[in-house]
């Protein structure tokens, strides 16, 4: 199970890269709202990928 969570974090990292790339691409294609959407999604995915290794003290 630990290895699966490790693999999920790497997949989330790649997904974040994809979301960021899509966001920047949308910015260049005059789709500002879509760019904001994908950049926000990328930031969340990236945060989730590292939070898998740094759980908060309160979580059980």
């Amino acid at each position: 199970m630990t290895r699966v969570v490790d693999a999920i974090s790497v997949l989330l990292l790649l997904a974040a890269a994809g979301a960021f790339a899509w966001g920047v691409r949308a910015l260049g294609a005059h789709r500002d709202l879509e760019a904001l959407y994908w950049l926000a999604a990328g930031a969340l995915v990236l945060r989730a990928s590292t939070d898998l290794f740094r759980p908060r003290a309160g979580t059980r």
């Binding site: 699966v4 490790d6 960021f20 920047v24 910015l27 005059h30 990928s49």
Partner: protein, 240 residues
């Protein structure tokens, strides 16, 4: 065998390698980002003169550095970069984002990065660190742990993934948005490299590995917000 004669070819070889390492990346960066727009139609005489002065400094720098390193570095780095900046300033709208070829711009960026690396100095392969006059004497410090398996591969993956937003930033041709795209892409790339390093290292054995359920619980909040965002996006796509 004459020891002086034996060391001379080695010193000559080192000098040639150093010269090539410094000259070739700079020449590539100059050709793609300075020489090419400066020789294009419409460039002013001043811009062309500045570009060729930059080239002269680039070539002179490594040669002078063999005898006088400080002067050579000043010529090969500061003067070369300075005249390149003057050229870009004088070229003005000729190097506007509308005229930039994303591939050439990306390759030029790689050229400048290699140029910076070329002027860096590395410890010689046969040098012994303890022989350095400023070396601190005493017991050598051993590493307290080893990197977890696959750490280098994950960092490499994160670094390669970071290239994706930077590549797309070069394709933005809207003048007023191009700089913003580069700033956003740079921030994204830094975040990706940082996250890749965290994922690579935090699997180490120096900290007790938490149970998977607790790890998933730690990421629950961003994952929940992400799910909500994706749901909104899906609705938007369906009904727009």
């Amino acid at each position: 065998m004459d020891p002086v004669g034996a060391t001379r070819p080695s010193a000559l070889r080192r000098g040639l390698v150093s010269l090539t390492n410094r000259l070739l990346p700079g020449l590539y960066a100059w050709l793609t980002t300075v020489g090419s727009p400066a020789t294009a139609r419409g460039a002013s005489f001043a811009a062309r003169a500045a570009a060729f002065l930059a080239l002269a400094c680039l070539v002179a720098g490594p040669v002078v550095a063999l005898e006088r390193p400080r002067l050579g570095r000043a010529l090969g780095v500061l003067a070369f970069v300075g005249f390149s900046l003057v050229t870009w300033f004088l070229l003005g709208p000729l190097i506007g984002v509308q005229r930039l070829d994303p591939l050439r711009a990306g390759l030029g960026m790689v050229g400048w990065a290699l140029f910076a690396l070329g002027w860096g100095s590395l410890r010689r392969a046969d040098a012994i660190p303890e022989d350095h006059p400023h070396a601190v004497a005493g017991e050598s410090l051993s590493a307290r742990g080893a990197l977890p398996r696959g750490a280098v591969a994950i960092v490499l993956l994160g670094t390669l993934a970071a290239a994706a937003p930077i590549y797309y930033a070069w394709t933005v041709t809207r003048a007023q948005h191009a700089l913003l795209a580069h700033a956003v892409a740079l921030a994204c790339a830094l975040g990706l490299v940082d996250a890749g390093s965290v994922i690579a290292v935090e699997r180490g054995k120096w900290r007790p590995v938490l149970p998977p359920r607790r790890r998933l619980g730690g990421a629950a909040r961003p994952l929940a917000v992400l799910t909500f965002l994706l749901f909104i996006g899906l609705l938007w796509k369906l009904f727009s």
